[in-house]
Amino acid sequence: MEGALAALLAKEAEEVWVLGDAGKAMVEELRELLIKAARSGKKRMRLIFYLDDPRRLDYLNLLRAVLVENTSMSIIVEEKPRKALEHDLKNRKERPRIIPREVISDPLKGVDDLND
């Protein structure tokens, strides 16, 4: 019985990290990713939002446009404080897909930039 959420949280899901509060461009990028993942037959997607203030849920108002387009994949949305990003990156073997792309080409470098 157990395991559906675990599968979503583990490698079976296409994982995307989103840095900072969502803006329209970011939502557009997410939408493209979602469509691409669905077309390539992915069944699960995990979206992790690294937010300055994880208690703010405003990003969901923008994310709605992306979420309601999906009918075929399981999607999980998580929030983490921005400060957890560096730790998470260091503890990860493979580089995750991170958006917005233009902010971070090298994730660790980007973290430093963002923290400046």
Partner: protein, 507 residues
């Protein structure tokens, strides 16, 4: 010491009620109180349900019962609790689980009544009252986790301010059986919860993962299938894989309900007649066995939903409706049964675009004929349908609405209620604009007007001769009749004000 539960499953009064044992009265909860005070309106559609000393209701929504079983079977201290008794448990509870059909009155027909009357329906008011109970706020401060799910979970995405205000930790959109235990585990181990989960087709539970309920469901409702093969573009159910519940599971749940004193069953499926079917090819044997088995246990039977095409096909090819009518009504203690059906449109062109398989095995071009024949078959066999029409579907044209109005005229001799509903983006159309943001056309008003007069014409007979017979129903009957008179008066006055003139349709 009184028993306390750590996981509380609940919902507001409009859901935690058996509607006086008359399921259809529950639809009044989708409207605002009209012509009477709210408490009276609530008494008609959502009376309090009996509870035990711990606040556990006699009957509760089926979805909550399923989760209750799952949690209890895993050893958790969990129970469905009536919303008036949350204070007994919230001081000690770790998790509050919510479910609803229409949290914010955004589904049809609630959204429609809201638009027409400009008043918030009682289901949304009642849910807000629940969420603003001081005991929930206090428990939240102590670290209570709140998980919201159910068929209307998607609505939270349109009410993010309330999601935040009420401290909802996680929203689960989709079938929850394979997700809920993992979420609970996370709470118990102190891990953070995800904010939102959409359960896609590959993560829905298999039949063997769906447990039998342990306590009574509202009016004996029992699921016989999940999913639907017809693929209508506006419907979310069709996105889920089709699964038929085994007869022994259905029987077990009927026994549970009867054991708890509920002498009825509502067979729940998006299309009851497809039980045991291969695709849309009917399985008469499975259907007869299902009805014979159910009838052995209960005094009253009803269907939740059936498709009009299946009704026509069942009768014309297998005389199945007559045979089932004999099983349901032949004993003499029941003379009708109710079902929800979807007309959606009277236009074959629109049907072809948005619901090409709804008419199957008949071609979409025959849709109006399918509807008319199915209504005749139901009328002749003691089935009283509550039918829906969807207004504002994407690609709808004025000509489509004219065809719908014409079909309504041809249905006038068949005992039924017909409710027009505004399009709400669900299913594969869920990214489309809401119809309610679009201007209502004259043709929409004419369709709504014809639906109203059709339903008013039949409502009195349905109440008198079928739904509320007997002295014990007299107070309810009286109030409903007063309400119907009020609606008629109001409708005439609105018509006068609007001076409705639609020569295209009336020609």
């Amino acid at each position: 010491m009184t028993e306390r539960f750590e996981i509380i499953l609940t919902t507001d009064r409009t859901m935690m009620t058996n509607h006086h044992g008359k399921e259809f009265l529950g639809f009044m909860a989708t409207g605002p109180p009209i012509g009477m005070p709210e408490h009276l309106w609530m008494w008609i559609c959502a009376p309090k349900v009996k509870v035990d000393e711990l606040g556990r209701p006699w009957q509760a929504p089926y979805a909550l019962r399923k989760l209750e079983t799952l949690l209890q079977d895993k050893g958790y201290s969990a129970a469905v609790i009536d919303p008036d008794y949350l204070h007994l448990h919230l001081k000690h509870a770790k998790i509050l689980m919510l479910s609803h059909h229409d949290y914010f009155a955004l589904c049809p027909p609630s959204s429609e009544w809201w638009l027409i009357t400009k008043k918030e329906p009682v289901n949304a008011r009642s849910f807000r009252r629940l969420m603003e109970k001081p005991e929930i706020g206090e428990a939240k401060k102590r670290g209570l986790k709140i998980i919201a799910g159910g068929p209307a979970a998607w609505q939270w995405l349109y009410r993010v301010n309330l999601w935040k205000k009420w401290g909802i930790d996680t929203v689960v959109d989709g079938e929850g059986e394979r997700i809920v235990l993992d979420l609970v585990e996370k709470v118990y181990s102190g891990e953070p919860l995800p904010r939102y989960i959409f359960v896609g087709p590959s993560d829905v539970p298999r039949i063997e993962e769906i447990p039998a309920i342990k306590y009574a469901s509202v009016n004996g409702l029992i699921e016989i299938m999940r999913g639907c093969p017809r693929g209508c573009r506006f419907c979310s159910v069709t996105l889920r894989p089709l699964r038929h519940m085994p007869l022994d599971l259905i029987e077990k749940e009927i026994q549970v309900n009867v054991g708890c004193g509920v002498d009825g069953v509502i067979l729940h499926s998006e299309d009851v007649l497809l039980y045991g079917a291969k695709g849309i090819r009917l399985n008469p044997d499975a259907l007869i066995k299902l009805h014979v088995m159910a009838r052995r246990y209960v005094g009253k039977m009803a269907w939740s939903h059936a498709s009009l095409a299946a009704i026509k096909n069942a009768e014309e090819e297998h005389h199945l409706i007559s045979r089932i009518s004999e099983i349901v009504c032949g004993r003499g203690d029941q003379d009708y049964w109710g079902v929800e059906v979807g007309i959606e449109t009277g236009s074959p062109e629109l049907a072809k675009k948005i619901m090409p398989a709804k008419s199957a095995p008949y071609p979409a071009e025959m849709w109006p004929e399918v509807v008319e024949d199915a209504f005749r078959i139901m009328h002749e066999n003691g089935i009283i349908p509550a039918a829906t029409i969807i207004l504002g579907l994407p690609e709808e044209t004025p000509d489509d609405l004219v065809k719908t109005a014409e079909l309504l005229d041809r249905l006038s001799d068949y005992r039924s209620l017909i409710v027009p509903m505004f399009f709400v983006p669900m299913g594969v159309l869920k990214d489309r604009n809401w119809f309610t943001t679009v201007k209502v056309k004259d043709e929409h008003i004419e369709v709504m007007r014809r639906c109203l007069w059709h339903s008013l014409k039949w409502a009195e007979e349905i109440i008198d001769k079928f739904y509320l017979k007997g002295a014990s129903s007299y107070p309810l009957k009286l109030m409903l009749k007063v309400f119907l008179r009020y609606v008629k008066r109001k409708a005439r006055s609105v018509e006068r004000q609007l001076e409705v003139e639609l020569p295209v349709i009336r020609a």
